[in-house]
Symmetry: C2
Subunit: 174 residues, 2 copies
């Protein structure tokens, strides 16, 4: 079932998200309106040194929980930014690490029913210390998790990208 | 790092999503505004009969791809609807199946940086036929995937909840 966009209007424009209402025509001739939240896209990084995975705990105001345990992650700075560059920046800023080996694992849409956010998932290994200001600016606590505790962290995980990333690493390793 | 909401205003109200701009005060005294997309919450179902997993392929207008392969899924009808009831309805409507055994696997936030959408993941087994109108109304194609092909489907998956659900099932089974 294919479709084409036949109209689009922006109904709200914010700093992170913009909301459009678009009208689509499907190949059977029917038309429908859809609310779409625009997002610049994001990255998330599974970074480990063979013994520990480096995660972060940070306040997530939208979900009314004190803090979520997550992969180091962040938004693309501008449309078209290379996701790998974003991943390197976020790993340095959030957990103070660089990595000599980077691999893209997969990309996925976080909530394709109403948002266009695409998240690019990376594996970072051969780590070294980098980024002295890590965590200071973003109210972020660094959490080192032993690989032996991976299943427990997965069971307690409440963040989609982190769940996908940790489960992917558990399934396929490096 | 804890925080409290000190102000909230709705800037756009749609059929699926509502956007608020909330002001928060953190425990260090600093204040910040956050854009928050409200969502009623959702469910997704890993349903299999021991040989096949039942997925759906449907148009996802926000992401500009012809169709995504996903778990049967849907929004909670109203705030406070029992997610299990939603899961049963969606499995019947989308793939025409009921299940004698239901288990909640986990719950996660799809994009906690800007949206409050929580997705509840279920496992449905001991399946039987139900829901004669499956797929008709939602432009949905039912896709049966052999369990032997699970890794291939995971590699190609572009939807966060589906990726999390299939990887969870691959890791922990029933």
């Amino acid at each position: 079932m294919s479709f084409e966009r036949i109209a689009s209007r922006t109904v709200w424009e914010g700093k992170i998200a913009t909301v459009r209402v678009d009208r689509f025509r499907f190949e059977d001739g029917e038309e429908a309106e859809r609310e779409i939240v625009e997002h610049p896209g994001a990255v998330a990084v599974v970074a480990h040194d063979g013994e520990r995975i480096f995660l972060v705990r940070q306040p997530r105001e939208p979900v009314n929980e004190p803090a979520l345990l997550e992969l180091p992650a962040g938004k693309l700075d501008e449309e078209g930014e290379d996701p790998l560059a974003t991943a390197k920046r976020e790993l340095a800023e959030e957990v103070g690490k660089g990595a000599r080996t980077w691999r893209r694992l997969t990309s996925f849409y976080t909530s394709p029913g109403f948002a266009d956010e695409e998240c690019h998932l990376y594996l970072a290994t051969d780590l070294y210390d980098e980024g002295a200001d890590a965590g200071e600016e973003e109210r972020i606590e660094i959490v080192e998790v032993a690989l032996a505790d991976l299943d427990q962290v997965i069971q307690e995980c409440r963040d989609a990208k982190t769940l996908a990333g940790l489960l992917w690493f558990r399934a396929y390793g490096d």
